[in-house]
Point group: C2
Chain length 406, copies 2
């Protein structure tokens, strides 16, 4: 059980000298239980190897990008083939047009696409497009929702000014009255309503959108001439082969995409309807690598897998099996689990665990057994996982419940 | 001379349907002379091939990333080798530490590094770090300088609110008095002075920084407790094997990097001194692909080439030969050229050409002869260029001067 972690320890010491706090952003393990490795040497399929050679069945999937497995052969062949002919050139390749066509073909509300690199790029472009379209400034967002890490949206306020947050009104997710109140407060200045496809905030139970909430958001935007933005960066392609709100029959005007769309190659996208095409064409946004072809070739290969395989049904089935098995094991050991979110984007926390101490012990014990779970961020199922992998995770979980009691 | 462009035409028509305006950002050719291809199929060394198979000697270098040639064998071997073992995982690889160490080793003022994807990410992180460090908001920037395409800095104001631009005071580059006036106007709220390493604004003559300007910026920051930020995204590694202001002996507190640092693989960086390490560690910034290892492996290979080859001296020599040859050819044909900027980052415009009509004809004629010049944006020399390439460009330029007269 005692894993070797000498290289990880050495790298953390070196990192402390040349990286603020030794690491930053969502991949810092500073807030995770002891024993979580910081540095990895390899990923293949559903598995990760840390720099000390320990192997993990990885339920974080790179925090989203791994949908079809790390180093997926089909996706990476497309990537490498294009990269060998040059990637970031002085202009885009035909892949950019093909990919825009493919995204527009896949996503019902979309008539056009723009590509970028970060999820934050896409949400910021959505914000700018809505403000350009409406000539208004105010946006309504759900409290606690994550839409990126630029000054207007990062969850930490250091280095952020009040002006960066001007024109933002918050509501409660799935609370129609609070949504209506926020829109009323915006008065005649409403540019957009931002919506997460599901409530996938950290540290709290996940929620699927109610039909009433999604429909009311659509109606309020239509009444006010504002744009409805669904931020599908994290959940896109994991809930549907379309915008995630297609599941409740509500079409946004703009949707933002990233993470899974190129199975880990750096790419994000803003999709929009004809209504706001002109506004999108009036903003000036760009980036040094936004027109590079290899990630777009990888995305085309990813979308082929999306259209032609049963990845979605399989990740749901794998997630449901995991959920059921964990509930059974928890009950055997006298624990109650709060398993929330869609099965393929599970968040697992414990009942009666206000300071998350049980959860931290359980996750640490899973980690020690080669299973990478997260105690307070939604996890991700990979289509590269097998039923055998789920059984392996469930066996480890069973042992981990014993450890969590101690 | 008549190039085939049927595939480019076809792709443009398809793009009009699925991309706003058919293209966006700095790689749209909408504002370039007729005959500029929009779509490319291949890049190798100093050359590009458009989707119709026409070849160009490319003086734009992807707007900067191509420093050692497109598809550079040494850089791409490092990239592919790492990518095959998994790229965007659930945590960074050891390459992140190695690269932070390499950047800190290369750049005199730097004690730490943070990596990101866009140049705009790095400049935005610099802004946030300065505001976090000083607990103040106001920044001084040079009028017309480009620092990215987020709402706080994009050169086009559509979709941007006045609040996005709060706390910005502008001065004239290289004008010490206007810099001092801007700092006075900031009163006791100065967080940072942003500086381009050279004045490399579009459409106007380029300028190297005067020693007086650079030194005064440093002094004013020190007097006020503000941070000096040199935005080396575009020019970094092209002027010096260090921060570009090392050439005038002035050390910034923060510097931003991108484009050339991984020779075209998507990577950017913020470097800082110990003074602002704590502030950098207090902001929350992140991105889905920021911790991916392959681009960092590519950057390590690029920095090896930076340290161990004479690329810098060669690109300067190639640029000087081009500049001299163009001046001679222009004189023979009765034109006066305004060639400004460092030889390896040349901007070429015409005297007595207020509406740029001569320049557009000349650039179009060069393009028709297989030489990709830009009429109003600084260009970039690649270390993959040879003296023979420069001769080829000069021959084409000679012919193009005749065409520009007509």
């Amino acid at each position: 059980m005692a894993r070797i972690n000498s290289r990880d320890t050495d790298l953390r010491e070196r990192a402390q000298k040349v990286i603020p706090n030794g690491m930053y952003g969502h991949q810092s393990v500073a807030r995770l239980p002891e024993g979580y490795p910081q540095f990895f040497s390899r990923g293949e399929g559903a598995y990760l190897w840390d720099v000390d050679g320990n192997r993990y069945l990885d339920f974080m999937c790179g925090y989203g990008p791994n949908l079809f497995g790390y180093a997926n052969a089909q996706v990476d062949a497309a990537y490498f083939d294009r990269a060998r002919r040059g990637d970031a050139l002085t202009g885009p390749g035909e892949e950019m047009v093909q990919l825009a066509e493919a995204m527009v073909g896949l996503v019902s509300h979309a008539d056009w696409a723009m590509f970028c690199k970060n999820g934050t790029d896409a949400t910021t472009m959505a914000l700018m497009t809505a403000r350009s379209h409406t000539r208004k400034s105010t946006i309504v967002l759900a409290k606690g929702a994550y839409h990126g890490a630029a000054p207007w949206c990062t969850p930490v306020l250091n280095g952020v000014t009040p002006a960066d947050r001007a024109g933002q009104i918050f509501c409660e997710y799935n609370d129609v009255e609070s949504l209506e109140a926020a829109v009323r407060e915006a008065g005649d200045d409403l540019a957009a309503i931002f919506a997460s496809p599901i409530k996938h905030d950290v540290l709290v139970d996940q929620q699927s959108p109610t039909l009433a909430y999604a429909k009311r958001a659509r109606e309020l935007c239509d009444e006010r001439g504002a744009l409805l933005i669904v931020d599908d960066v994290r959940a896109g392609l994991r809930l549907a082969r379309d915008s995630s709100w297609s599941l409740v029959g509500v079409e946004p005007d703009l949707s933002t995409w990233g993470k899974a769309i190129a199975n880990g190659h750096p790419l994000s996208a803003l999709l929009g309807s004809d209504k706001c095409r002109q506004a999108a064409g009036e903003i000036f946004v760009t980036g040094s690598y936004w027109f590079a072809s290899a990630a777009m070739a990888a995305s085309l290969a990813t979308l082929t897998l999306v259209r032609e395989t049963d990845y979605l049904e399989r990740t749901i089935a794998l997630g449901e099996r995991l959920r059921k098995g964990l509930d059974e094991a928890a009950a055997r050991h006298g624990f109650g689990l709060r398993q929330t979110g869609p099965a393929q984007l599970p968040l697992i926390m414990f009942e009666d665990d206000p300071d998350a101490a049980i959860g931290y012990r359980w996750n640490a014990a899973l980690m020690a057994r080669g299973v990478y779970f997260h105690p307070w961020h939604n996890m991700f199922m990979s289509a590269a996982m097998t039923l055998g992998d789920i059984d392996f995770a469930l066996e480890a979980a069973d042992e981990a419940f014993k450890a969590a009691k101690a």
